[in-house]
Amino acid sequence: MRRAQGEEQGAKGRIALLIVVCVGLFGLIGGRLVSLGMTPAEARNAYHVTPQDEVQASRPDIVDRNGEVLATDLATASLYAEPRNVGLVDEAVEKLSSVLPDIDVATLRRDLSGDRGFVWLKREIPSRLREKVHDLGIPGVGFLSETRRFYPGGPSVGHIVGHTDIDNAGIAGMEKTIDGGGLGALQAVGLARKGRSLAPVRLSIDLRVQHAVRDELSRALERYRALAAVGIVLDARTMEVVAMSSLPDYNPNNPAEALDPNRLNRATAGVYELGSVFKTFTLAMGLDSGVVTLNTPIDARYPLKIGRFTIHDFHATHRWLTVKEVFQHSSNIGSAKIALAVGAKRQKAYLKSFGMFDRIETELPETARPLVQKSWPDVTAATVAFGHGISVTPMHVAVAGAAMVNGGIYAPPTFYPRSEAEMMTIGRRVISPQTSAMMRELMLFNGTDGSGRNARVPGYNVGGKTGTAEKAVKGGYSESKRINSFLAAFPIDDPQYVVLIVIDEPKPEEGKPYATAGYNAAPTVANVISRVGPMLIKTPRFENDDAVERAITVAYQDE
């Protein structure tokens, strides 16, 4: 009896224990289910970030002023295999070679047969093929995606956009500038990653103009058998760089070319004694300081002797010249005398304000410091007046030239779009509007009646100044090696654009007597302007009679 009671109590205890255990277990499972149900499902899925995305830095596209892509990120997929996990090698080889016809079957077979853990099969596979390979479903074969910077234009904008290194960091040109302007910091904190679109960076470059300039330069190189050529087109009112080309250039898709020193960007990183185009600035300071007027007579009968130096004229006139004629005949004696009349101190102050003594302040990292003599005796003042004894970059001359004709406002050039209102706030006056008007008159006169005749383009009223500088060689100046340049503005009565062409060591064209700037730099300017004029200026202007004649031809040419 007592035993039975004991057993009954034991059974009750076991049942209670069983119940407790069951309830506990089911409670645990239920609780777990609830907790799983509570986790928001989206958190895992919406932004699926793989560790690979984390190492892929992203860069914004670079576009020109019309939105044409100059540089972009291309995601490329590279095919890899883990030979250890590839099951049937023959089948895999057969399938892969059917989709990728240009893959080498023998190498593929050898790669897949081994017992290695990882092997690249093919780098940079286009996305169409990527899908096909994916659909083959071969075990042990997969893709890793890589970002590569791609420059659709190739060499045409190489010097402007620059290029990136293997880690997609900008190391030259605007790519470097963009990194310096905060992108590097964004990447460092992980905000600029693959898959997040960054706003494209818009440049002031016009790709069409850029191509026309580069094309004409390459023709000039060939025609005049020159070493190098530089072309710059600036918006005279805002100092935006519309086109800048320096030949020989390099293809940013192949950055190794950039290491060749001959492919340096001469437009901002090469310094030259540019010669007679400097007379533009000398005359501007003469007129602005009131030392001379357009009709002041200057004695250019005899070579000018300063100490042991003698200054000759290339196109010697041996007579008294007005200031206007000094510009027209490009008289070294005349401009030296004007510079001496202005005085070394004021001359230096003017040149400083034209930016000739300092590195160009612009977004491009590749800029050179001008070579300026420390001491400034009279002979330096006289030679600088016609562009010798001072070495500046072509960009210096283009920008200062724009300031001479745009009403006298100087501002550093820019590769980003800039409005005229902005120009008003950052620009500074370097010569008076009256002087600027006189400079336009001089350049027009030189265009119609002087050395710039070969640069005239109907409808665009081109005015400008030639420069033929003998290159400094060991022990003096070479007579056969020249740097030729032409600084032009159009339309010269109300300049909108400034064009500067510099040709390094041109040889005379067949049938032409000289290799001076009027015979090579000026026609190149004319070619450039006749090509880019219709793109940049909507309404070419002609003399009144011309316009009517022209309209008749246009209206009735089909009859």
């Binding site: 149900g37 499902a41 989206e42 899925n45 919406a46 932004y47 699926h48 596209d61 044409e68 892509v69 100059l70 972009t72 990120d73 291309l74 995601a75 996305s127 791609f150 659709p152 234009g153 190739g154 045409s156 898959g195 679109s197 790709l207 069409r208 191509h211 026309a212 580069r214 094309d215 383009v457 109907p458 409808g459 665009y460 006749s530 090509r531 004029g533 219709p534 909507k538 309404t539 070419p540 002609f542 316009a547 009517v548 022209r550 309209a551 008749i552 031809t553 246009v554 209206a555 009735y556």
Partner: protein, 109 residues
């Protein structure tokens, strides 16, 4: 037949309410899961489309590059007969109109 009808009714109603609310919660949860999957699928597609668009843009700017166009025009210019535009070809409407008027007057004479 039913001993306590009120109590029974309350029981039935509460059981029904519990079942239906549980069912509703279950369905909502399933819907949310499905939507989440759809969203991530769409996001993946958007990313892929964006990728494709940037590839096409790059391809387009290669195809549309002035250097390439110029090379093509030079090669096929026997057929195309294209020439660069000159300033003389650009006129305003008023110029054309006045020229036409002049021409008409000359015609009358």
């Amino acid at each position: 037949m039913i001993k306590r009808p009120v109590r029974f009714a309350v029981l039935v109603i509460s059981v029904c309410a519990a079942t239906s609310s549980a069912a509703a919660v279950f369905m909502t949860k399933k819907d949310a899961e499905r939507d989440a999957r759809a969203i991530s699928e769409l996001n993946r597609k958007i990313a892929a489309e964006k990728q494709r668009i940037s590839e096409l843009l790059a391809e387009w700017s290669t195809l549309d590059h002035p250097a390439r166009l110029q090379a093509l025009v030079t090669r096929h210019n026997e057929v195309l007969r294209l020439e660069p535009i000159t300033a003389e070809q650009i006129v305003s409407v008023t110029e054309v109109a006045s020229a036409a008027r002049r021409k008409a007057q000359e015609g009358k004479k």
